[in-house]
Symmetry: C2
Subunit: 376 residues, 2 copies
Amino acid sequence: MIPDFTFEKTHQSGNARRGVMRTPRGDIQTPAFMPVGTAATVKAMYPEQVRQTGAEILLGNTYHLMLRPGAERIENLGGLHDFMDWQLPILTDSGGFQVMSLANLRKLDESGVTFRSHIDGTAYELTPERSIQIQKKLDSNIIMQLDECIRLPAENEEIERAMQLSLRWAERSKTEFDNAPGRALFGIVQGGDNNDLRARSAAGLVDIGFHGYAVGGLAVGEPQEVMFSVLDEITPHLPHDKPRYLMGVGKPDDLLGAVERGIDMFDCVHPTRAGRHGHAHTRFGVINLKNARHKDDPRPLDEQSSNPNCTRFSRAYLNHLTKTEEILGAMILSQINLAYYQELMSGMRIAIEQGRFAEFAADTRAGWAAGDIAVL
Amino acid sequence: MIPDFTFEKTHQSGNARRGVMRTPRGDIQTPAFMPVGTAATVKAMYPEQVRQTGAEILLGNTYHLMLRPGAERIENLGGLHDFMDWQLPILTDSGGFQVMSLANLRKLDESGVTFRSHIDGTAYELTPERSIQIQKKLDSNIIMQLDECIRLPAENEEIERAMQLSLRWAERSKTEFDNAPGRALFGIVQGGDNNDLRARSAAGLVDIGFHGYAVGGLAVGEPQEVMFSVLDEITPHLPHDKPRYLMGVGKPDDLLGAVERGIDMFDCVHPTRAGRHGHAHTRFGVINLKNARHKDDPRPLDEQSSNPNCTRFSRAYLNHLTKTEEILGAMILSQINLAYYQELMSGMRIAIEQGRFAEFAADTRAGWAAGDIAVL
């Protein structure tokens, strides 16, 4: 008998929530940040290194995996966990977002979307049903419904059309999901920057009933205050006893502000991508290690960090590795960024337990605002 | 009082030698393979991962390091060991070989060589004295003399001119080295494919007196049998009580054949470069993981290996990582190749101790000849 997916909210501090999701692959403490394992690997990281940063769940991209190596292939090889040797929970997206942003010759209608691979031009069809089937083949623990995510700004009429289509696809996703034992299915709130449409989307999803609710269609280029204002409006419409997931977000200050507004889960490629570009996220904010100020600096990135990569290498060495574009530079900085993200989430969780989230947020923002240590 | 560099030959099996080099940074069991840390990093590997493969010494490239980040900078930062967090011995080359192969606008005369950086065109001068000075600034444990390495085939007159120049540079290197405490200085035998010139080069170097003797000017495109025949001719002219280093070599069968001929040390970028190109070195020989035969193969690379990377990932996953050019593929295969090289060296050392080198060599070659496991 496979135990059901559950979520329990254990603490609240202001609107910030502390909880735990339980899955057959392990528990996930929330608020949680999910590193992105796009093509069955978190770029430049061994799976155990990702685990050691504190991550308890990864995100896998259905679009990338269905193209290469293919969902059926991964299924035949025992599922995504064994394929990439990550035995903890995995959330997969529906594939829809990347179809919209990466694929060629897209054609969307009521039934779903057809497109051609950006890699080799092969034609594919993605329907709400097919997306659920693929995510089951991948052996995903948290499955996302297919939705239509449109670019902002857009006309209300267009936003409403996409929101209503996403609701009908949510219904079809729920049917196809068919209460798969141990797995969770999340619905996705759409409605752009229109509060009324967002509220109607949320209400429609709650009527269908999901294990969790994601806020989609944000982090697509809008200013942070627009995103925060949508969250302020939408979270009162979401059930208190279900996890809330802000998709594709974000930078550390996005995470802090969204947890402050009642969000429980995040994913973003930013920490690993920033690492590959020579940027380190720290309690001092972002540090660009390609900057010449670090060239002769024997000091570590953060001498008080508990992360050995932050203390064992000089800034001069990290400057050298990033300037010469050595793979080790990408490896070290991806690890540093993922570890900082997990440290931030852990700090938020403890602060919520202690009922002092506002204080933690203020201290963290003050550290970022103070910036990096002085130039030598 | 810093202890002197020493070498002790402890066993012999046929012409294959087993020994130990002692340096203030640690002992090096020979025959030894030195991974190459070109730009102060073994590409795609953390230093402790390199150590865990069994490596006891790294090679650093003077040419790359003098250009970026610069020898004075590394000196000011405490030397190459601290810079890259590799605390065991380091051998540095003289920079000469890469000046010849990479730099622009080279001009060579009696005093040394002037050139422009292949990165930004900056002008540099490298003399025998400057090369030693740079290698000391890097805090190298085994320093190589500057020599002139010419391409084969070449006229005898040209080979002799370069060999004689290299001998005069050897003398100047010895003077500049000035018995630096705890460090070793190696001379380099030149003379192309001319046995008489090779013998005269060796005799000249032995007259000057070095801690070890390298065979240079090989592995520059000549067939393996030419290289082996030069080794057959040259090793009788080298002192039995000093280490012998075959520079820039090679593939596993090169190492086996050269140890068979009395060589003690090797370095080569091949294992890490091959790893970045999707090739794995194993007891089955070379396996090209980009080959479609692995696409659906759930079997590990080598189920009997003691290296977890050879057993925990399927061939299908390694095929996926290499086809999608994921950094993790380069990380895993670089580790697998360096670990196999060290396993091969360790196997040779044990076989020499047991007086059964010929048998070990035959078994190893039979494994390579039998090739990979059958297609599923």
